[in-house]
Every structure is written in C-alpha cells, then in structure tokens.
C-alpha cells in the first residue's frame, strides 16, 4: 500500500486522521511518558483512545493505574476542561499471556493447546525468545484493532535494542518456525524416505546424524514434539503477520520516534530511520526529549546575581553554570545533527521537549506534558 503524506508542522497535524500511533525509540528515553501524553492529548480533544504500554516506570505505571504486570485495562479519568466525549484507557502488554491466547485460539483442540502450553520448549520460548515481546506487542495490537472499541490506539513498543529486531519480529518469528525446515525434525524418517535423489537422501541423513550427535537424542525428540504441536499455531501466525504488516504500513498509522539529545543516540536514531524506510515504514515525527531548559536568568551577569553569595558558593555556582552550558552544547550539537539529517520533502517533523523537573508520576504531569507537546510546532 502506497502511503500519501503531507508534511505536518505540529504533532496535532501528524496525528490527524490516524488510528494507530506507534512510539519507537530506545529504553529510558521517555517513550512511555510520551505515549501517555500523546494519548491523553487526543482523548482530551474528544477521541476514544487506548494506550498500550510494555514496561512503564513504576511511578508512571501508578499514574496510569497499571503498575502490575497483569493489571487489567484501566480507565484514566480525564480532568475538567477536556471534551466530554473523549475517553482514555491504559493497558499493559503481557507478552506471555498474549502468546498463550494465540495458542488457545489456533490450536486444533483444547488438548493440543494444553499440551503445547505445558511443553518445556514452549515455556522457554514464549518467555524469552528474542523478538517474542516485539511480536506480541503487535499481536496484541491487532487484537485491539479487531475489537474496534477505540478510535485511536497508541502503542509504546519495547525498547528497540536494534532496528531489525523491532519490526522484523513478526517475520522472524514465522521464519524461525519455518515449516519446511522444522518438519524434518518432527518426522525425519518420512522425509528421508520422500527425498528422491540418492544424494539428497544421503545428505539429509548425514545432517540428522550430526544433529543427534551434537544435541543428544532427547533434544531432538523434544523439538519434534514441539514442532508437531506448533504447526497449527504457525498457520494462524502467518495470517496475523500479514495483517500486522499491512496495518503498520497503512496511511492511518503514524510512527513517532523519541530520542535523547546526545550525539550517539541521534546517530542511532538516524540509522534507525533509514532502516525503517528501507522496509517501507516512515517515521512521521521525532521528539527530542528531555532537553535542558534555558537558564533564563543568565541575561543578568553572574557577578550581579551572586553579589551576596558566600565566596565558596560563588565559585561552586560558577562551575555548575559552566557544566550546564556544556550540557546544553552537547544537546544542541546533537539536535543540529538530527535536523541536518532530517531534511527533504519526506522528512519527519522534529520537535523538542524540555526536561520536566520531576519524573512523570501523576495524571496532572501527563496533562502538562500533553499541553507542551501540542503547543510545539
């Protein structure tokens, strides 16, 4: 699907007409707070919004009422001044539960689902397999889209350790369980019999003999069981993957990246933007988060401001002000590099957010952040 874009000049422009907003970025950049702020702003403007988060900071989780991993969806009360028809629901992703639900949905029978859910390999894989969490975030997303209870979904993805991991996750998971390759393990004898050429047969048994030697037979049996049980799930998984891929490339989906104002972070963000573009995904806005606010009293000279200060304090404060300046220099260099890389017709909107004095811990803080975000252009 070819998407048409018009360059936005504010975050409200970017979000107009969107049904899905995907927040991307590394861990610890304030992605979840930003997701909450985006969702809050849109809900306050009168839309029915759901925000799905993966791993909120404890205080933000408290603010949204979803601190516990198995927390049920929570309705966040909107303050007065918000449109009366808007609503906001906060949810947490439980990737293990999502995986389990998928097994229950696609297994041939209740017994097959139970057998798979209690298989040692499934237990290991569903919790810790690389990319599972990313895949499940999108899986949950498509469940929510299907339910059609909301007119905007905001999703905060797990930290993107690397670009390929994030959005290639659906493809990788299905690739991993590539039926062709793995069915050999499920029923090696039948496959060897079917392999027509002598050479093919010989090399297949050679490989299998080696697998046995490397892994020990018990491993092979375990994998075989697992593959047999997993085959049904795989079919459903492939369907879903197609649907998710389409959803992510739909013109009604927006990608918003959050980045820290540091040169290394910005360099990775630029690379990430390119990687996404290469697989047909476009970042619509980049939020440079936690910029050190300007020291507005610096228009008056230090000598004047610190005239009454004890001598030692004066020296110490001079050092602190210099350090803050050097921090701002680091940040503005990073921001310049980002803006320079993001030019051209298709370039995402780049906006900055100043660092709040406190961690986001209440709905009021989220509202403040939402106001700041909407005011930027």
């Amino acid at each position: 699907m070819k998407r048409t874009r018009k360059a936005g000049t504010s975050i409200a422009d970017v979000l107009e007409g969107k049904h899905l907003v995907v927040l991307v970025g590394e861990g610890g950049v304030g992605k979840t707070s930003t997701a909450a702020a985006v969702a809050f702003g849109q809900a306050c403007a009168g839309r029915n919004v759901a925000v799905l988060t993966v791993d909120p900071a404890p205080r933000l989780g408290d603010a949204l009422g979803i601190r516990d991993i198995d927390a049920a969806p929570r309705v966040v009360a909107l303050p007065g001044g918000c449109a009366a028809n808007g609503s906001l629901v906060a949810m947490r992703l439980d990737s293990k539960r999502t995986f389990d639900r998928m097994v229950e949905r696609y297994a041939q029978s209740r017994e097959a689902a139970e057998a798979l859910l209690h298989h040692p390999i499934y237990e290991a894989v569903s919790g810790s397999l690389g990319g599972t969490e990313h895949y499940m975030a999108f899986q949950r997303l498509s469940e929510l889209v299907e339910s059609a209870d909301h007119d905007l979904l905001v999703i905060d993805t797990p930290p993107a350790v690397n670009a390929s991991e994030l959005l290639a996750a659906p493809a990788r998971l299905t690739g991993l369980f590539d039926t062709g390759a793995l069915s050999i393990l499920a029923e090696p004898a039948r496959l060897i019999a079917r392999a027509t050429g002598t050479l093919a047969r010989a090399s297949l048994s050679f490989v299998l003999a080696l697998v046995e030697r490397v892994a020990g037979t018990s491993l092979k049996t375990g994998v075989g069981d697992f593959v047999r049980l997993f085959a049904d799930i795989l079919a459903g998984l492939e369907d879903r993957t197609r649907a998710i891929n389409e959803l992510l490339r739909s013109p009604r989906t927006a990608f918003v990246m959050v980045v820290r104002p540091r040169s290394t972070d910005v360099a990775r963000a630029i690379a990430f933007h390119k990687t996404l573009a290469a697989i047909g995904l476009h970042i619509d806005a980049i939020i440079v988060n936690r910029l050190t606010p300007p020291g507005i009293d610096r228009v008056r000279s230090r000598a004047e401001r610190l005239a009454d200060a004890p001598a030692q304090a004066r020296a110490a404060i001079a050092v602190m002000e210099r350090e803050m300046d050097s921090l701002r220099r680091i940040e503005s260099n990073a921001l310049c590099a980002l803006r320079e890389a993001m030019t051209g017709e298709d370039a995402p909107l780049v906006i900055t957010l100043n660092s709040l004095d406190v961690d986001v811990a209440t709905v009021d803080d989220i509202a403040t952040l939402a106001r700041e975000l909407l005011a930027k252009r």
Binding site: G130, A271, R305, L306
Partner: protein, 305 residues
C-alpha cells in the same frame, strides 16, 4: 603479568546506561595496571547489529590478533573482540565434533540453522562457551581478566541460564559437557563477577534491581551495581540552603534538583544492595572519569579474589 586463571567481569545493564563505555574503560584501566585483558563484546544472540553501530566499533576478530595500546604497561596485552555468531558457532561445533570440515558442512545446512535458531538456549550456550573457552586457555596464551560487554539486561538472564536450560532439555552428549563447563565457571564467585551498570534514573534503577534479583535467583554470584553518571556535588549544604532561598542561579537550582533526585535513587539502590560505587557525569561526551574507573577496578578485582 598473569596471576592465576582468568577472571571474568560480566558487565551488563539497561540500554543507554553506558554499559559498553564502562566495560571498555575498565578493560583499558586494567591494561594500564599491567594486566593482560580481553574485552569481549557480545551482542544479543537473536539480533543482528545494534542500529548498525556495531560496524563502527574497532574490532579485532578471530584469534591471536592481540595488540598493545595506549599507556599499557610494557608487558600487558589488550585484545578487543566482537563475538561473531557464525564464527563462534563454528568454533563451538568444531570443539564438540572435533572435525572442522564437518562443522562447516553442518553450518551450511538450512536444517541445522533452523534447529540452532529454534532450540532454546543453544545460541546463548554457544556464546557462553566462547567465553568459557577463552577463560580456560593455558597460562601461556591466557588473560588475567576478561571483560565481557554483555547484551542489554533483558537478555542477560537468558544468556546466563542457558547452560541450565540446555542441560534440562539435553542432559547427555557433547553439548551437555559444554553446558556443564559453562555452568561451573559462572557459578564460581572467585572467577566470575556480574557488574550491573545503571544510571541514577528511575527506570534504569528499577531494571538494575530486578536484574540483581534475577541473577541471585539463578544461582549466579552476587552482582555489584555501579551507578554511572552521577552529577558531582559542588555546593556545601549551607550554600544549597542559601541558593534555595535566594534563587540566585536557575542553572544551579536545576543542577541541585537533578542531583538530589539522583541521590534519592542511589539511596533506594543502596538500601537494597548495600554500598554501590559511582562514576561521575563528566559533562563532556566520551570523557572517561579515570580516577573513578581506577577505583571501581580495584573494587571489582578485590571482589574476584
């Protein structure tokens, strides 16, 4: 200078905490103290490059390409390696099968790649085995210290529990032998020390503590937590009071506020795990706080004795 079998410092932490920076600084500091050091960069087994940044890192892969650097003591060697998945797997298979060409043949088979990918713990075990192998070189070729720049904390537990998982599924055979060797090494508290790097930020501290608990729960030697990027204190307490009442410098106020929040988080950490060493924020990108790194190195080497 070799002082006995190689000790392993396993540096982990949430992404963005400066884990790789700390690992490298510690490795270089150890070299300048005359130790033979290997710095091993491990990437998550499931992923490819980290935003493509990996290629930018200086790396000497393969075997034996040790070189001397910087202010290293005359006899000390420093070797930096990025673990390459295929090469590591090939070495692993060669060790297990004792035949290089068979290993290569196996690696080229799609079936085998599928099995290797789908078998829980196998890739992690391969990574861990590479570390074990490096640590058990004979004294002549070996290192005093192996600093592992581990994958981000989410992947640390799967990596370190891979031997147990593999032994659970496949208790017999050559793979099990490798798993047992790796398990023995990482359970040995005089040779293996996990170091968790955190920044004084809420999310990072929460993750560091949960990794700490998970590591202890997995029977791995008690980790140390280092706080990276603490803003240094400049004002005496009475002067902080003066600043708060007069508001004479917005920057100094911002600085103090940030520092106080950081100290609160350090207190939360220390309440749970005891004293944590800290590294100061330098306010300059890429500047290494040498003195604090040297002190941290002393602490961790002391813990490994």
């Amino acid at each position: 200078m070799r002082t006995g079998p190689a000790r392993i410092l396993f540096v982990s932490g949430k992404g963005g905490t400066g884990k790789s920076f700390v690992a490298e600084a510690l490795a270089r500091s150890a070299v300048s103290h005359g130790l033979d050091v290997a710095l091993l960069r491990v990437r998550a087994a499931a992923g490819a490059d980290e935003h493509g940044s990996q290629a930018a890192e200086p790396a000497t892969t393969g075997s034996g390409s040790s070189h001397r650097r910087g202010r290293a003591a005359p006899s000390a060697t420093f070797k930096e390696t990025v673990l390459d998945e295929r090469a590591t797997l090939e070495k692993f298979l060669t060790r297990v099968l004792r035949l290089g060409f068979v290993a290569r043949r196996l690696l080229d088979s799609r079936t085998f790649s599928a099995i290797a990918a789908a078998t829980p713990g196998l890739r992690d075990l391969v990574t861990l085995s590479a570390i074990t192998a490096l640590a058990s070189h004979g004294r002549r070729r070996g290192f005093d210290l192996i600093v592992v720049d581990a994958p981000a904390s989410g992947h640390t537990i799967p990596l370190l529990t891979a031997p147990a998982l593999v032994l659970d599924i496949a208790p017999l055979g050559p793979v099990a032998q490798e798993a047992r060797a790796a398990r023995a090494l990482i359970a040995n508290e005089s040779r293996f020390l996990p170091l968790i790097v955190t920044t004084p930020e809420e999310l990072a501290v929460t993750e560091a503590l949960s990794l700490y608990d998970d590591l202890l729960g997995a029977g791995i030697p008690a980790p140390r937590i280092v706080v990276n990027g603490l803003w240094p204190g400049h004002l005496r307490p009475e002067h902080v009071e003066w600043l708060l009442t007069t508001g004479a410098s917005i920057d100094a106020l911002l600085y103090e506020k940030r520092r106080r929040r950081q100290l609160e988080l350090v207190a939360v950490l220390e309440h749970r795990v005891g004293r944590c060493p800290t590294l100061p924020f330098t306010f300059r990108e890429d500047e290494v706080p040498e003195a604090a790194i040297a002190a941290l190195l002393d602490t961790v080497l002391g813990a490994l004795r």
